[in-house]
């Protein structure tokens, strides 16, 4: 059996990659991908802990989380598609109407 700490390390790496992606990418689709990575790192973390402390309810939470992530991705894509139709541009730097 793989030690818990290895799985957590992978989760941490995924989290860091996802966070880095969120803070730096320029396009909307990449942002969504980064968020997916972030959510999945959290899922992995929860499952790993679930195995580590032998609690099956962790799996249940992760299933919910995956479903929510899917829904969220769908909504996100829908927003970006709609934005693209409007502005032909989904660069994050150009979306700055919501300031002061």
């Amino acid at each position: 059996m793989i030690p818990l700490i290895y799985v957590l390390a992978v989760s941490l790496m995924m989290f860091t990659v996802g966070l880095y992606g969120i803070l730096t990418v320029k396009g909307g689709i990449r942002l969504l991908i980064s968020i997916e990575i972030l959510v999945n790192s959290a899922n992995l973390n929860i499952v790993a802990w679930g195995v580590g402390i032998a609690d099956a309810s962790a799996v249940l939470f992760v299933l919910f989380s995956i479903a929510i992530a899917a829904a969220e991705a769908a909504v996100g894509f829908a927003i970006f598609v709609a934005l693209y139709r409007e502005t032909k541009n989904i660069g994050l730097k150009s979306l700055m109407e919501l300031r002061w």
Binding site: L19, I22, L23, T24, L31, L92, K93, L95, M96, E97, L98, R99, W100
Partner: protein, 624 residues
Amino acid sequence: MDPLIISGILIFLLPLIMFPIILLLGKINANYRKYAGPMATSAIFISFLLSYYLYINGKNIVFEGQWFYNFTWGIYVDPLSISMSLMVSGVSFLIHMFAIGYMGKDPNKHVYFAETTLFTGGMLGVVLSSNMVMFFLFWELVGLCSYLLIGFWWFKPNAASAAKKAFIVTRVGDVLLILGLAVLYWQFIKFGDPLSVTTIINNAHYVDKVQLAIAGALILGGAAGKSAQFPLHVWIPDAMEGPTTVSALIHAATMVTAGIYLVARIFPVYIFALPWAGYLVLYIGAFTAFLAGTMGIVMNDIKRILAYSTISQLGYMLAALGLGIVATENTISISIYHLIVHAFLKALLFLSAGAILYSLLDIRDIRKMGGLWKKMPITITAMFIGSLTLVGFPPTAGYFSKDEIISLSYFLSQNNPGIYYAWLLLLIGAFLTTVYTFRMFFTVALGSPRSYAAEHAKDPPWVMIVPLVILSILSLIYGIFQEDFYSYLGEVSFTVPIYVEMLPFILVLLGIYIAWLFYGSRRFSAESFAKRSGILYSLVRAKYYLDYIYTNIIADRVVVYLAYAFSLFDRYIVDGFVNAIGRAFNYTADITKRLQTGIVQNYATLVIIGLILFLIIGKIMGVI
């Protein structure tokens, strides 16, 4: 209730009630306006009859009812107030009758008569009030009527301005009067019903002399404002912009005497005060009598001459009271007797002046008149009688009233050397009175007409003649009631050497002779005499620069510039400070809002930084 009390209340209530009635009638239908004059006149005649009823049936009626707090309202009837009430309603009746003719052509005569009726009601209220608060209410009501009536021809800029001046100058006196009442209130509160006339009169000798003197001085300020005594005399000459009947009624016969009445009403306050209060009363009166006399000589406007004469005569009345206070004598009867005689003669003079203006189309400059004795004999004869009475020529009533005051001042100065200068001032005042009166009379009556209007003057209709005749008769014969009047109001007896008694009469003859030389026979030229007197003439001509100081320096400079200073301070400093606080918040927000870039990733970065900081701080503090 006692019919005497009811009639006492009705005396002033009836004219007051007529005010809205006359005003509304004229407002409803312009045709009813011609009834305004007769209605007002008859209402006041009823007041006169009621006063007479009180005179016959009662002395010393006091009625008081709760008003508010510990102030009462009510009527205080004693010989002093009855004699005033008879004089006010009687003279007012005659002047109203005259006004029916004089104001007959004015489109707004219902307003005029409503206001004069209101005034008469107020004045009767002043003399009959039993409480100083109620007294002050009516006191201000007559001041208001004076304001409204001076500005009756409101479209004339001079009239509007004169009304304003009259109101503000008397207001200065009135606030002093309020303070005087405040002093009295706290001194008399231990006797209950503190501002009632009864309380004040009966308990004055129990009260601290210093406080009484302060109260007396403050109240004298109010009296000086209303009765146009130095230094608050400046408003009356300007007030002549109103209709002449108003000048006769308010600014000669009745309202301006309210100040004298006030001092007489609370006489015990002065009697039991420190002596300086009495000297203040005496010398303000005597000095005003002298000062106004000098100014009367140089005026050319007939109504202004009479106005200064009024101020001067009011000075005599105040001085008479002051004499009594200084010497602890009851001189009220002498003062009030002169007050009543003066009301008759000054109403007569003003009404005859009004009759002259009526036929001369409002030319008021005496230099444009002349030779009127031939043109309007009845009017000028009435004026002649008035002039003789004013100067105190025997056997007119003026001789019995004014010379009495001068003799009294001499008599009292035997024991009080401080009064001696008052006697001198009053004596010179009598001489000046003669000079300005006969200067006016000779210029108006003799010579030849000096304007087109004067050539075509004629006597007015009978409704204006009748009051003139009645007042002339009163002025001539009222002297025979002197003894009766004194015994009714309080006896004063004194004797002076015959040469002192004759002195005023000699001065009168001298004055008439000088006036004759300058203005009757024109042997000497008044103009060249004026030129030779140089600076003295210009000083008097400029009214001692008092008007200039009050109007041009205090009102137009000091107060207005202060007002602008306050206003600018308000706008730029006080409000500026408030706005500066608001702006400070605005600027801070302008800087801090730059954090709000609108870019999602910046927000995310900030969230991460915040989270990390939170964790670090938590670790350091040992919370996590």
